[in-house]
Amino acid sequence: MAGYVSKNIRDATSKSQRGTEESPLVKWTLVALSGTFLAVFLLIPLANVFVQALEKGWDLYVSALKEPDTVSAIKLTVIVAAITVPLNTLFGVCAAWAVAKFEFRGKSLLITLIDLPFSVSPVVAGLIYVVMFGLQGYFGRWLDDHDIKIIFAVPGIVLATIFVTFPFVARELIPVMQATGREQEEAALTLGAGGLKTFWYVTLPSVKWGLLYGVILCNARAMGEFGAVSVVSGHIAGVTNTMPLHVEKLYNEYQGQAAFAVASLLALLALVTLGVKTLLEWKQSREFARAQQNVESMMNK
């Protein structure tokens, strides 16, 4: 029975070449339109970043990246991502686990809250921390008296980045965890595995590609965030400028080539992210297909 259903589905996918009964003309016009759109608005500007960066030659490109302020911006960006991504991964796994595997009151509220950073403007994300920790904010005087710097220093930048990258891992994991269901874990538990062991050997392997994908997206945004970080950074050259802020600074100082050199690093990050994403999706679909084949052959026996 199951075999029959999945065979039907496969037939449907193989036929989907034709999609609807529209003529090939419509199909190719649509493909050409979206292709042109992508080329004009995405590919050409992206390629232009590299052209501008290398305009004055490779040597200048490299020396632009070796500038002390640029090096410090790269370092700061890496540090921020190194703190943000693991924290949000941990949070994402916890949240997805809770949402996918348990029933509790306020679950939909939790899901809405996880999505909040997607719907809030990054400027607001920055400002809420200024209102909390700025000198005129709720904790401002106390922090100042105790010589603790949050806003206009690394902690503020980390906080703002955590806020905007909050949903990425959880959002990727929730559907995957829901799809895998609870049966396997229940089986593991009845066979005597503890909670942690079940998580480590049963849950995690079944969601690993989704998790990795979430982590990669989270990292890309953490390194590329401009708005929220701009509000809390203070823009001190060589101290609190992350890479995106540094690009803006260089451009404003008429150092176009250097600005594009740093921008090219961010563009490279984007390309790597896309590459890894494609690879992960391919792996995931292959594993899914294999699992389905196994089920099918078991059913047919």
Binding site: V130, F133, G134, L135, Q136, G137, G140, D144, D147, K149, I151, F152, G234, H235, I236, A237, G238, V239, K249, Y251, N252, E253, Y254, G256
Partner: protein, 330 residues
Amino acid sequence: MKKFLSAIVIGAALVGAHAKDIKLLNVSYDPTRELYQDFNAAFIKHWKAKTGDNVTIQQSHGGSGKQARSVIDGLQADVVTLALAYDVDSIAEKSKLIPADWQKRLPHNSAPYTSTIVFLVRKGNPKGIKDWDDLVKPKVAIIPANPKTSGAARWAYLAAWGFALKKYDNDEAKAKDFVAKFYKNVPVLDSGARGATTTFIQREIGDVLVGWENEAYLALKEFGADKFEIVTPSISILAEPTVALVDRVVKKKGTEAIAKAYLEYLYSDEGQEIAGRNFYRPRSEKALEKYGDKFAKVNLFTIDEIFGGWQQATRKHFADGGVFDQIYKP
């Protein structure tokens, strides 16, 4: 032998001097990036020679109003060097980091250099821009910055208003009408002076950049005098960018002496020379002699004469619901 000697000298310097490492943060406005790069290098050398200590000067740049806001919110500036006195006043008033009488602590109202508002046009002046009148003609696109956030833009707004008052015999209604026409010709309002400059030069939007004189000269230097021309209007405003010590921060960090010396050095021969070299109008006679000819003679009025000072001008023109909000409809 030479190497040996220099090794001894360096060694002696290391042992003897006990050089301290001091960090200063100068929070400044948009177009002073090049000025302070130049000035900081000179001051570091001067301080090293005088005391043996190593200073690192960190810079933060942005729209003047925005920078003031950051200092109010706790950006630990040792000194602020902003586009207008009102922004320093705001810091004093809202955060009490600076005493209210700050402007009397340094000569020339704490403005070590001045500038004014001029026009930058494309080569050959295709729209024939000569004075403020020409900016309100139809089909002239002008690029000032946003007076809500940018210092240069406030000076430019007030300069246009001042011109109109003179032209229409102090008729306020006509002046308001003139400035409304002025902002009708604005295709885009950037938040800072430097953003407006890049809009005009690199994105090639607009016929006239209305902004700092120093910024216009710097653009000529960076992008070539064969592409742009400076037009000086018949009358403009005396812009006084002001500097101040942030008392509470320097007391806490123990940098009071050096921060004071830093600001005072702006008034020294070398400081004035650097200001002149970077197209700011210097105060000292000596630097004026050398650089005065570079700047066109222009009839300058002050904000106190026409508007009764920054507090009044801000309340009337730039506050929420003020004249600018009434006339500017994007």
